[in-house]
């Protein structure tokens, strides 16, 4: 039986042996490993770069109070970025599954069209979801654009869903039954976090809803202003940190019903403008925010 932490070891080992630098998660809330500077910024510009890391990813709207056996507010992504995308990247990817103990001949592993797009990052790519017996275990994307900038050379991003993959490997139907380490269940490690984070995300706090929303809007605006200031000071990485903070505040507002549909679009647009300005600064083009 492959435990969750063994899976992380095996993937880390596999990709390190294929020339990837092992990075660490960014210590800031984010919705996906793509927003980590090791992906979002490194795919820009001409420099070659191969990197792998785990990124805990928070999606407040996916919170289910620890009651849904498949859905989590916070899950872990194992993220691999290869720049440029090697010719044999699909084979490499499949070998990484074998390294995790998957017998490719006994299962049905398929690459089905699923193009990825992040409106808030001004980024999109062409690719697939990798289906393992019908379950999505990886998002496989050839990045075409990030921060509104056309990419050259092209990077490939592999995002493994650690929980999904472990569930399949351990043949369990409930994420909380996953063995994180021998004798330690996912429930022990994470359940309380899921319950409490869900309550927070859906505004079940000792504060009227209007106030709760106003507070987060205010935080959004403050983080936004700070990010702009940092960017004007040419501090691109701190600016990205606060851009991510904005994105998280937006996700919380969205989950707790704090914004209407039209307003929603406006928020997305603001974060996107910030992300684009950050990307431009990174590659050396100054842009107004």
């Amino acid at each position: 039986m492959v435990t969750l932490q063994q899976l992380i070891f095996k993937l880390s080992e596999f990709w390190a042996s294929r020339g990837c630098l092992l990075q660490q998660p960014l210590d800031i809330e984010m919705g996906a490993g793509t927003m980590h500077p090791e992906t979002f910024l490194r795919v820009l510009g001409p420099a070659h770069w191969n990197v792998a890391y785990v990124q805990p990813s928070r999606r407040p709207a996916d919170g289910r109070f620890g009651e849904n056996p498949y859905r989590l507010l916070k899950h872990q992504q194992f993220q691999v970025v290869l720049k440029p995308a090697p010719d044999d990247v699909q084979q490499l990817y499949l070998q990484s599954l074998e390294a995790c103990g998957i017998d490719l001949r006994a299962h049905d592993v398929r690459f089905e069209e699923d193009n990825w797009e992040s409106p808030t990052l001004g980024a999109w790519g062409i690719g697939w979801q990798v289906l393992f017996d019908g379950q999505e275990i990886t998002q496989f994307t050839y990045f075409q654009q990030a921060g509104g900038i056309d990419l050259s050379p092209i990077s490939v991003e592999l995002t493994y869903g650690i929980e999904r993959l472990t569930m399949a490997l351990q043949d369990v139907d409930d994420v909380y039954e996953v063995e994180w380490a021998a004798g330690v269940k996912y429930r022990e490690v994470r359940h309380r976090d899921e319950v409490e984070q869900s309550k927070y995300a859906f505004g079940q706090v000792d504060m009227p809803a209007a106030e709760f929303h106003a507070l987060h809007r205010d935080l959004f605006d403050k983080y936004y202003g700070l990010a702009q200031t940092l960017l004007r000071s040419d501090l691109v990485l701190p600016a990205l940190d606060y851009c991510l903070k904005c994105s998280h505040m937006f996700n919380l507002l969205d989950a707790s019903g704090g914004i209407g549909v039209t307003e929603r679009t406006a928020y997305i647009l603001r974060v996107r403008q910030l992300a684009i300005a950050i990307a431009k600064h990174w590659v050396g083009e100054k842009a107004e925010t």
Binding site: P46, H48, N68, P69, Y70, R71, P84, A85, P86, D87, D88, Q90, Q91, L94, L104, R105, A106, H107, D108, V109, R110, F111, E112, E113, N115, I126, W128, F132, D133, G134, Q135, Y142, Q144, D150, L151, S152, P153, I154, M167, A168, D171, D173, G260, V261, T262
Partner: protein, 733 residues
């Protein structure tokens, strides 16, 4: 095989939805490029596609390009020599441009005089030398719904090569030998892991399956015969049809083992799709908890079919069983190993669906109306709440005044008001393709009568997200009229309000799907009697105008220009619909000459014209009608016919015929018996023929001339009111 051309473009997995189009394109583009490069295919151009390969084969092609011979003309001979008889600079310039000495030029006689000329003869290259350019052209020609950068380029002066997915190998054989071809890589990507792609004699089998050795090794082939044989040994079924048949067979046998059935016909699109997701299809059976069978059938089916590409298994009587069949890209030795994982996904999705189902029910549709305020329909038109109000009023009016069914008006209004409320449900948020359907189901659960819930349920048809057919009479039952009213109102409102907001469909750009909306409206009206039992030839003009009254605010007024443009747009959709039903273009043109648009009337007239085409009198009259139209255009005074000025026998005879037949034609048209009307019209042929033989219309006497022109105009209007029958004459006349 000595002159066989075989090309296989090895790619990373192509989207299934592209494959039918790409298969056709590959054959077309290859044929096109072969013709351009003067190498004749001497056998059919065959093309095949699996997710990982695009293959083309021509059993025999010409050995060489045809020689190219052409004569290029230069300056006139008169300007080619100076006074001394020496070539002028113009003449020498022409020779230089062709790259030959002046002496090699010849002369060319034309009606305009004699010119200097160069007879150019270019010997064709051997096929193997011309083929690389042909393949390069084909790679450039293939069009993908979305293309990608993958750091590739061609050495054809055009630089980067975009493609649908990265190309990983090229099998390129002519007469069993490799034709050299290279796809280069971008300088800033090239390196040991990013290499040029060189053509070769190699292909690859299934990713994971192999009878011996490691899967995925390269396989050498020399001919198509060998290629097919090797692929089949290496677990690749090359032909779509073969994959499809195999899937259908396996689905049936698996369903039988479960004492059930699979609706092969109903899921025909899904079978085609899954056949393009795999190279070596197999089927496994999975199960889910019986408890989920309490969910509406539509939700279960959507989860299985649209989200997972799985096939629901039904009992002999058509009820869903708690089982599904999944098509996989392998022939598994242990089905359960795969099935268990597939079941986990299905169960997860069904649990979500059940959660949404239960949570959505807590807020009835009526109380969701206010939430529509937050859903923007269009910035100039407001929210879906505003749309719901417009829709309700329009649907009510259509039911009462257009479809003549006052007893349905209130139900139509209610259905229309609630029609969009399901956009606020969690179920639609998660399963977008269930919009409408789920609203209908919730309305049913909440006690709305059949007339209401079915109108909501089927509101998007006949142009839904998935289905592209109207509901049947049987499905609609007593809701036929309310459905037609709501569905029509929705489409017309969307079209008219967006038009007033300045949105247009232009060329291939139609971001709001206006064409589709109008298409839907036209299809409902065209088949109104069959769909609803209401036999009414509805004119669109007044319906559009009524819909326009409903939109206020910052939109443009419904001017005559807008209205006419809208009717022209609708007429275009009617023509498209009629052509789709197999009517010839001339019949379609003839039947859609009216200024206002009535799809049903146009259809019936087209049918009647179709039926009259065997009539010699009708054909002859159609020819004469062109003359009638032309001459009637000369008419200057618009007054009524001055009967006393009609004196000659032939014109008298025509007037008598007209007087006798007009009431019969009008009566037939009034009861929509257009065939009878056209038979009456065909009966005019002899009189019109005689008129043109014996009567000189453009008489000097003004009164006589005016009367004759008015007679022609009356005849024209009588016929034109039904159809412009001159259109059915072949255009060569």
């Amino acid at each position: 095989m000595d002159r066989e051309l075989l090309i296989e473009i090895g790619v990373e997995e192509l989207p299934a939805s592209w494959m039918p189009g790409l298969t056709r394109q590959l054959a077309d583009r290859l044929k096109g490029r072969m013709t351009e490069f003067r190498i004749a295919p001497m056998a059919a151009v065959e093309s095949y596609c699996t997710p990982r390969r695009l293959t083309a084969r021509i059993a025999k092609i010409a050995e060489r390009q045809e020689d190219l011979e052409e004569t290029l003309s230069g300056p006139p001979v008169s300007a080619a020599f100076d006074a001394d008889g020496k070539p002028t600079p113009a003449a020498l310039g022409f020779a230089r441009k062709q790259g030959v000495a002046f002496e090699e030029l010849s002369r060319l006689s034309t009606p305009k005089g004699e010119y200097l000329a160069y007879h150019k003869r270019q010997r064709g290259k051997s096929a193997v030398d011309a083929l690389p350019e042909i393949l390069g052209g084909v790679l450039r020609d293939l069009a993908f719904p979305k293309q990608m950068h993958w750091d590739a380029k061609l050495d054809d002066g055009r630089g980067e090569l975009l493609f649908g997915r990265p190309i990983r190998w090229l099998l390129f054989l002519y007469g069993g030998r490799v034709v050299p071809f290279t796809i280069g890589r971008a300088a800033n990507a090239a390196g040991p892991q990013v290499l040029d792609i060189e053509s070769g004699a190699l292909t690859y089998g299934h990713r994971f399956l192999a009878t011996s050795g490691r899967a995925g090794r390269s396989i050498k082939v020399r001919s198509f015969e060998e290629y097919q044989a090797r692929l089949s040994e290496h677990f690749v079924v090359l032909r779509h049809e073969d994959r499809r048949d195999r899937i259908a067979r396996e689905l049936e046998s698996h369903a039988r083992r479960l004492n059930g059935r699979v609706h092969l016909k109903e899921h025909s699109t899904l079978i085609d799709e899954v056949a393009d997701l795999v190279e070596y299809p197999g089927v496994v059976a999975g199960f889910y908890d019986r408890g989920f069978l309490t969910l509406p059938q539509e939700v279960l089916t959507t989860t299985l079919v649209h989200h997972q590409h799985f096939f629901p298994v039904v009992t002999a009587t058509g009820e869903l069983k708690e089982a599904f069949l999944a098509v996989v890209n392998t022939q598994p030795s242990d089905e359960r190993l795969i099935a268990k994982n597939a079941e986990r996904v299905v169960t997860g999705r069904l649990r979500d669906a059940k959660f949404f189902w239960e949570s959505d029910q807590k807020t009835p549709l009526e109380s969701r109306l206010d939430r529509l305020h937050t859903l923007l329909f269009h910035k100039k038109l407001g929210s879906y709440r505003d749309k719901a109000e417009r829709l309700s009023s329009l649907a009510q009016w259509i039911a009462r005044d257009i479809l003549g069914s006052p007893q349905d008006a209130q139900h139509a209004a209610t259905a229309a008001r609630l029609a969009k409320t399901d956009l606020t449900t969690e179920m639609v948020f998660e399963f977008t393709e269930l919009q409408g359907t789920i609203g209908g189901i919730y309305a049913r659960q909440q006690g709305q009568p059949e007339q209401v819930w079915k109108a909501i349920y089927y509101q998007y048809l006949p142009v839904g997200v998935e289905a592209d057919a109207p509901p049947s009479r049987e499905q609609l039952g007593p809701a036929a009229t309310t459905w037609a009213a709501v569905s029509l109102a929705d489409k017309i409102d969307t079209f008219v309000s967006l038009t007033k907001a300045g949105e247009r469909a232009t060329g291939s750009r139609d971001p709001f799907g206006l064409r589709r909306q109008m298409q839907g409206a036209v299809r409902i009206l065209m088949d109104l009697p069959q769909l609803t039992g209401t036999d009414k030839e509805v004119w669109l003009g007044p319906v559009l105008a009524r819909a326009a009254e409903g939109t206020t605010g910052t939109t443009d007024p419904w001017t005559t220009e807008l209205s006419e443009a809208a009717l022209a747009f609708a007429s275009e959709r009617v023509r498209f619909a009629l052509e789709q039903r197999g009517f010839g273009i001339e019949v379609v043109r003839a039947a859609t000459s009216a200024r206002d648009v009535s799809p049903l009337r146009a259809r019936r007239i087209a049918e009647a014209i179709q039926g009259m085409r065997g009539s010699e009198d009708f054909q002859a009259l159609a020819v004469l009608f062109k003359r009638v139209k032309n001459i009637a255009r000369e008419r200057r005074s618009p007054g009524a016919l001055d009967r006393s000025a009609i004196t000659e026998a032939a014109e008298r005879a025509l007037l008598d015929e007209l007087d006798a037949r007009r009431p019969r034609i009008e009566a037939a048209a009034a009861r929509s018996d257009y065939r009878a009307a056209f038979i009456e019209i065909a009966g005019l042929r002899a009189a019109v023929d005689r008129f043109f033989t014996e009567v000189f219309v453009m008489a000097d006497d003004v009164r006589t001339r005016d009367a004759r022109l008015t007679l022609m105009a009356d005849l024209r209007d009588l016929i034109l009111d039904l159809a412009d029958i001159s259109e059915i004459i072949p255009q060569t006349e």
